[in-house]
Each structure stands twice: as C-alpha cells, then as structure tokens.
C-alpha cells in the first residue's frame, strides 16, 4: 500500500513489520512520533518511560528475553541513555535491538545541535541513516537483521527534516518472528571486568566485519553520472545535493554511516577529479576520508553550523541564487510563546514581579524566558534546574536562597528532577523548587507521564503523587497553588523563600490545550473604563494587544482564564460578553 508518511511514522511501520514486540521511549522532538505511531499497533507493547536511560534499559531487558525491541529519543536523550549504550555494545543482543535517535540540525526545538554519529563511533555500534520516508521504513525493517546477525544494538539516526517530512512509502505486512528462547549466559551479559575484558575483542572484531559489510551493502549506493565531480553524502544532505546539483555530480550515498567503508570510498574517489563531502554538523565522513588517504573538500565550504538546504549547497558550489523579491521593510519577529491561558504564565508573572533568580528547565515553560516576562536565568538540560539551584545556593549562601527558585515541569521532574531534589534534601540547601504541573508532557505534543494517571494508550495507570513523593525524599514543606491565583502564588512564594528549610511549591493547573479543559467565554475590554495603563500588557498574553490606545482582547485566542481581569486596576476587563 502506498502512503504519505512522515519519516517517524515510516520508522514505526518498519519496526512493526519486522516483528518488533517491545518499545520503550521518552518523548523528545523530533523523535516523538516514532513511538506514538508504533503505539497504534496492538502487536507492539509500547510505553513512555520516565527517561531515555530507563527506556534504553527496558529495551535491553526485552532483547535479553529474546524479543525484537526498540527505543526512541532525541539527540540529547541519547546523552541520558549513553550509559547503557556503551556497555550494550559489549553484551550485544538476544532479540534484535534498535535505538532510534533524532538529531535536530538548526535547533528547531533543541538546546544544542550535537551530532549523534559520535555516539556510534564512541560506542562502536553500527548506525543507519535514512534519507526519506521509504528508506526510514526499509532501514528500520532491516535494522533488526543487522542487529541479530552482528550481535549488536543498532543506532538509527533520524534528523528533523527526515523525521518530520512526509513522503511516499510502499508498505508491506508484518512478519511475526516471536520471542527467541532465553538462555542464561553470564559471560555475555554480566559485564564485570573479567567478562567485559573478553567481550571487548569481540566488539573490535565486529567493527571489522561491519566495515567489510559497508564496502558493499544494501544501505550504501553509488550513483555514477558522466561527471567526474564526486559527492559523498548521507541523510537529508543527499536530498539537497540531488536538488541543487542533479546529474552534474556523481554521488556516493551512505546509509550505513558507522562504520564507514574504506576501499569503496577509495575506489570511488580514484574515478573522480575532485570529491566533496557534504554532511550536516560535524566532519565525520570527511575525517574518515582524510584518514584513509582520500583528498576531499568538506567543511571549508559547508558549514559546521545549522541545517543545509539546496540553496546552501548551490551557493557553496557557486551556482546562481534565485531570489526575486526583496521587501525592504522591517517585518516584526514572531517568536514562539506560551499560549493564551497557559497556566505557567501566572507563576512567571509572580516570579518576574518579585525579581527572583529563576533556574529553568526543558519544556514549554522555557518560553518564560521571552519578553515581556523574561523570567528565566538559565536553561541547560533536563533536570538541571533543581541540581543547578542547589549549587547556585551553596555558592551564594543565605542571600541567594532567599531570592532564587527553580522551575521544572511535571514530566521533566519525573525524568531527572527527582534526583536533584533528593540532593537538596540530603545535602541541605534551603532551596525553593517550583514544579510547574500542567498534568501532561506539553512541548512534545501531549504525552502521558507517570504523574498523569494514564499510559501511552490513554488507559488508566498508576499515578505518582508529587506531594507524597517530595515529602518522602525529605522535603517537609510542600505546598500546592493555582497559578491563576496570582495573590496566593505570591504569598506562598514569599513564605517559602523565607523558610529556613527546603521547600517545593507545586503550581498546578492542566495545560489549556488538553481536550478535557474546556475554554470559558472570551473576556472583553470595556473601552470606557480602559485607561490605557498597559498593566494587562505586562502579563504577556498573546490574546491582549493595544489598538487605538485601548487594550483589545482577541476572541479567537482568549480562553477566558480571567487572570487579566484581576490585573486590571480599573476593572475594564469584563468576563461577560457584551452583545
């Protein structure tokens, strides 16, 4: 059947058809849909794990038992899962295991643009990289065979433009492969020094075998044309090369991006007058070519930074640019922002008003850094708000403790915040931790997590009680506030900042985009009462703007949260729609 699928859905389809039985993942753009689509197939057990390390280890266990299994994460998620990955390389697998990792060149939705191919090199495991949805499907299907044949987990690299681009896929049927028998094998699976020392040579031999495979395999192909200008490329870059240069170059397209072939690259290069390596992010293919004595042009022409396109390639190869229209006009930027009615905004308003330092975390609420609230001081990685605040306060002492907080979402807290909170309790800083509990994993598009009470299929599941959890790790002061109630938020904030022991404030209200959160009637501004003081504007709600000197509420955006009504000193914002 021919279908238009995003790359991630195609990966899910491939995993499904290859008989995958267990998938455990943590959501992260641009990887999330792999698991969301896989969860639609009843034959696959799918789950959202609390973080990528757990997901990868669940997948390990499923493989050990003998099932074909996968996990999926974004590039920075693989940092979290790196610990199991590096030793999984030694143990190898029983059932085939695929670790999907989605890079984000250009940082559409990420805090860095690290190149996950380094992990394949570092952990000495094979890595596949598809260039469109059809390949995403085919490679995913074949990844299990590769994994089982070479006794290795397989890294499966996606990037934003492949993960989120739809193209046509010709799909097939699922093949049930069942679960292989499990046999106890301490020498292979207990990685203590004596055993691990014996497994390391296996890893090196495996890389040699995989390199031999790379010389001539179904994942790599050469497209010769009449041209003696050669390009070596992979993934999304391949598409940009074909678009910009067409048949004016011969192309060596790599699909197995670790290990890289040696002889076949040398042979390809020997037939060319000049060879370019065109790869996004780091010079991995380029360095390999130079190591094996192949002279190539790479990063001196093609940037280390950001995403490529047909234009960047055409420009580097000195082809003509095509721009026609140029508007000499200042177009205001339109940055992303928290939605109208977002519960995070109320807490940020109070934090900004009280001029406290705020160590932030990863999620929708990172947008609190944007004007007019500009409420954040730092964002590093998942969980770093809590651990960071502890260090910030240990270095800054009591003065810091009384004017600093951290904010972390419910899902991020479950991911890696709770360990930081344990550290605060154990090593005693009078830190004030704010959990922004919007009852969902928001930024990645509403995934369930251990605090929501539902699993990936939407079925009821055990619900972690945040208050009990915080108390049980040794935090005595745990309070819950409604972020729509600004006065109460401010009162509790001041009280907890001045307390002489650590505290947790749970700012609780569900995301307004959740289906069960019904919007109220939009509010309106009574023009006669509006004194144009712009107090409501300081709240940073996208539904409120000034027109002809008066505040106006956009009724298509307003969800009637009513917070601005309380902010207006003149009672000009009214909740009843004036007919």
């Amino acid at each position: 059947m021919k279908e238009l699928l995003i790359g991630n859905a195609a990966v899910a389809r491939g995993l499904y058809e290859a008989g995958c039985n267990v998938i455990s993942s943590y959501p992260g753009t641009p990887s999330t849909e792999i698991t969301e689509f896989a969860a639609k197939y009843d034959e696959i057990y799918c789950e959202w794990a609390p973080n990528e390390k757990v997901a990868c280890e669940v997948s390990f266990g499923a493989s050990l038992q003998g099932a074909r299994t996968a996990c999926a994460m974004k590039h920075v998620g693989l940092n979290v899962a790196a610990d199991p990955l590096f030793t999984l390389s030694y143990t190898g697998v029983n059932g085939g295991m695929v670790i999907c990792v989605a890079d984000d060149p250009g940082m559409h939705s990420s805090q860095n643009e690290q190149d996950s191919r380094h992990y394949a090199i570092g952990a000495k495991v094979p890595m596949l990289e598809p260039a469109d949805s059809q390949e995403s499907y085919e490679f995913a299907k074949k990844a299990f065979e590769l994994s089982e044949k070479y006794d290795t987990p397989v890294l499966f690299r996606m990037c934003t433009r492949i993960a989120h681009s739809q193209s046509i896929v010709e799909t097939g049927e699922r093949e049930e492969v069942g679960v292989k028998p499990y046999e106890k094998n301490p020498a292979k699976y207990i990685m203590m020094p004596g055993n691990a020392k014996k497994r390391h040579p296996f890893v090196e031999e495996r890389t040699e075998k995989l390199t031999a495979l790379a010389e001539d395999c179904e994942f790599n192909r050469i497209e010769y044309t009449d041209s003696k200008i050669g390009v070596i490329t992979s993934g999304a870059s391949y598409q940009y090369v074909k678009e910009a240069l067409g048949d004016s170059v011969s192309v060596y397209k790599l699909g197995l991006v670790n290990p890289l072939p040696v002889k076949s690259i040398q042979e390809f290069a020997s037939k060319m007058d000049k060879v370019y390596v065109i790869e996004e992010l780091d010079p991995i293919i380029e360095s390999h070519c130079k190591n094996i004595g192949v002279n190539v042009v790479g990063k001196e022409l093609f940037s280390l930074i950001g995403e490529f396109s047909q234009k960047t390639i055409a420009a580097a190869m000195q082809k003509d640019a095509k721009k026609v229209y140029d508007l000499e006009m200042e177009i205001p930027m339109r940055p992303p922002m928290m939605c109208a009615g977002c519960p995070h905004r109320g807490m940020y308003y109070v934090l900004a008003k009280n001029k406290v330092s705020v160590l932030g975390d990863i999620g929708c609420y990172t947008l609190g850094a944007m004007p007019p609230l500009t409420a954040l001081d730092s964002t590093l990685c998942m969980g770093a708000s809590i651990s960071g605040l502890h260090g910030f306060n240990k270095a800054g002492g009591e003065e810091s403790e009384k004017k600093s907080v951290c904010v972390i979402g419910d899902s991020t807290f479950m991911h890696s915040g709770v360990t930081g909170l344990i550290n605060i309790a154990y090593n005693g800083s009078n830190s004030t931790v704010i959990i922004l509990d919007n009852s969902i994993t928001g930024m990645t598009g509403h995934q369930q997590n251990p605090t929501t009470g539902y699993n990936i299929k939407g079925d009821p599941a055990a619900k972690i009680d945040l208050e009990t959890l915080c108390r049980s790790v040794g935090i005595n002061r745990v309070s819950v506030v409604d972020p729509y109630d600004l006065k109460e938020c401010e009162r509790v904030l001041k009280e907890e900042l001045n307390a002489d022991e650590p505290s947790v404030i749970i700012s609780r209200r569900p995301c307004v985009l959740l289906k069960y959160v019904k919007p109220k009637k939009p509010l309106t501004v009574n023009k006669d009462k509006c004194k144009s003081c712009k107090k409501c504007m300081s709240f940073g709600c996208p539904a409120i703007s000034m027109h002809d000197g008066k505040a106006v509420i956009d009724k298509t955006l307003c969800v009637g949260c009513g917070v601005c009504e309380g902010l207006c000193p003149f009672g000009a914002i009214e909740s009843e729609v004036q007919e």
């Binding site: 021919k2 238009l4 753009t29 641009p30 999330t32 849909e33 559409h108 939705s109 469109d132 934003t160 433009r161 492949i162 989120h164 681009s165 739809q166 193209s167 046509i168 999304a236 598409q239 940009y240 074909k242 678009e243 396109s309 047909q310 234009k311 640019a321 095509k322 721009k323 026609v324 229209y325 140029d326 508007l327 006009m329 200042e330 177009i331 205001p332 930027m333 339109r334 940055p335 992303p336 922002m337 928290m338 939605c339 990172t366 947008l367 944007m370 004007p371 007019p372 930024m443 990645t444 598009g445 712009k534 504007m537 940073g540 996208p542 409120i544 703007s545 000034m546 956009d554 298509t556």
Partner: protein, 190 residues
Amino acid sequence: MQTKNIMIVGVGGQGSLLASKLLGRLLVDEGYDVKVSEVHGMSQRGGSVVTYVRYGEKVYSPIIEEGEADFIVSFEKIEAARWLSCLKKDGKIIVNTQQIDPMPVIIGAAQYPSDVLDEIAKKGAFVDALDALSLAEEAGSSKAVNIVLMARLAKYFDISYDKWIEAIEKTVAPKFIDLNKKAFELGYNY
C-alpha cells in the same frame, strides 16, 4: 514536469497542519511524487510556522528555498511578507487579511506594518487577498480558515472541484466534513 512548490505559512495554532494534509492527500491521489515538510515542537507555540509542499515526477529536497515557490498561501498578513523572498518571479500569493500581532508588537517593541500587502503588490508580486476568517465564521467555525484558503488555492489548479472535496472527505474527521465542505465552497466561490 518540473517540481512545483507550495508554501503554507502562518502562526502556530492556525491549522496549517490540516491544510498540508489535505494537499498531500490530493496530490498523491493525482499520482505525483510528493514531499510535505513541517517542523513540530517549540516553534508551533504561537510562533511563525511554515509548511513546504512539493510535488512532481521525482521530488528530492523536502524544503523550499528563495525564489522557488509557485504559491505562498499565508494565513496571516505579515507572514506573507516574511516569506516573500521564497516566491518565484511568476509565483502567486494567496493571503488571509487577518492580522495577528506578534509578541514584539504586543509589548510595543516593534510596529505592525500597516501597508504590508500594498508593499508586496508594489514589488510586482501577484497577491490574492481575502478575509478568510469571516468566510470561515460564515461556514460555522473560525477554525476553518485553512479550508477556505485551500479552496482559494484550488482556483489556480487544474484539479476538479470534486477531487478536492474527495480529499477533504479523506482527511477531515467525520463530524467536521460538512463544515469544511461549506468552508471550501465559500472560499472557492468568493
């Protein structure tokens, strides 16, 4: 045939996802190779969003670059201006005259340019402007702006009205089909 390029631009949350889904379905049914590309995640939260739809015999790149777009369908006025440099010389802009103030304008750090569509037209670009929001509301929901704009785009295509309706039936949730058919009719006959 040379690959054709359509950009759908707007503000996160305006429903460009459904528009691209509809277009993708239609073009696959017409037998073309198709690529549809959009970015999910952070930029969707009220930010400027863009979807690329490309179709032809064989489509390589999923994205559309400067000077390549045959059509820019803009859900909001200044978004048409933001992406104007992507338009081909004889490309066409279909634009909803709705104004959505971005945060820098809301907080007074920037001005919303009042004459932006005139400025685009002055450059010689073809501009088809319509109040899609009013037509969508007439059809029954402000959320149907996407279908109204797709209907407007359909006017420039050599694909029958019925084929578009068929694609709507295949992509829209059953309970919204009538609403969207109405929105399509209003946009098409406007």
